[in-house]
Assembly symmetry: C2
Homo-oligomer: 178 residues x 2
């Protein structure tokens, strides 16, 4: 496959494809292009998606449920092994094969089930406390839906998903054009 073909597929330019891939090693052969199967496997290993990841979901509300039932998560190897909530009426009830746990047993369950990633789908006022407890319990990364900047050690990566900022990015672009 040529970098032109890869570029068309990713809606970018051939030069950008070559530049991006060069950050991670030497993949293609000049004049011959890329061996697509090998490239895919190398990128999967590089991205850490050649394996499955144990995920815990904190917050069994609407966003939590939407995420839990998001088919692409499981198909890409993200396996939800625990769900937590603070609402007594939810604790002990089941989503699929997962029984919702109390936050009181958070550390214990995280360690027992070897959770690596935590998804925080909880309000801003409780997110920092849970994030700190997750780090303390040995979690390696956090996907944060709470509209707050989490203060965690630099070795624990955090990805923030802030839906208001996405809408504001649109408003900004539209405003610039009118």
């Amino acid at each position: 496959m040529s970098s032109e073909e890869l570029a068309a597929w990713g809606q970018t330019t051939a030069a950008q494809v070559r530049k991006d891939l060069s950050h991670f090693g030497s993949f293609g052969k000049r004049g011959l292009g890329y061996q697509a199967g090998e490239l895919r496997e190398s990128l999967r290993t590089l991205l850490g998606i050649d394996r499955s990841w144990k995920v815990a979901l904190v917050g069994a509300g609407r966003i939590g449920l939407a995420l839990y039932e998001y088919p692409a998560f499981r198909s890409r190897g993200y396996d939800c092994v625990a769900i937590f909530d603070s609402d007594p009426s939810k604790i002990g009830t089941a989503w699929g094969d997962q029984s919702i746990c109390a936050l009181e047993v958070f550390e214990e369950v995280i360690k027992e089930r070897d959770v690596e990633l935590v998804i925080l789908a909880i309000p801003a006022d409780s997110a920092q406390e849970v994030a700190s407890r997750a780090v303390e319990a040995g979690v390696n990364g956090i996907l944060n839906f709470a509209p707050i900047r989490l203060n965690v050690p630099p070795e624990v990566p955090v990805e923030d998903v802030n839906l208001v900022i996405e809408l504001e990015a649109l408003s900004f672009q539209i405003t610039q054009r009118t």
Copy 2:
């Protein structure tokens, strides 16, 4: 307020704050810093968030509902004026004060209610068709949750939210560190 204070608040550096703001005009005074109230109003105008925006939600599923009930949307001026779905069992039922409309009346409702932004919370296989119809109907921007790159004219900005990519970004960072 000094650029140092703004930087601490935004978890960045003072130099970055000055550089970022300089892209949009001349805000602060050397040695005096920024007049916070004025700066806030200028940025709100610049971002297009000094006004409200009429939004339509396409897809009355789990993600759609989570978005519809997301309190920060309304409080930041994003007003959902229409909801669409293709499922006959949902059409005509109400979420809050909004009755769910059929996609058959999409263009008509978009125009009647002056919709400016569309949120696509639908599967990949129907997203392109609805996006094209939204553009045709005069929508100015699209927030896309479908895992597909939309093909729309360059004057209509699209923001993609791909939750799998957010998780993969974490996996990548963790893999790089271990």
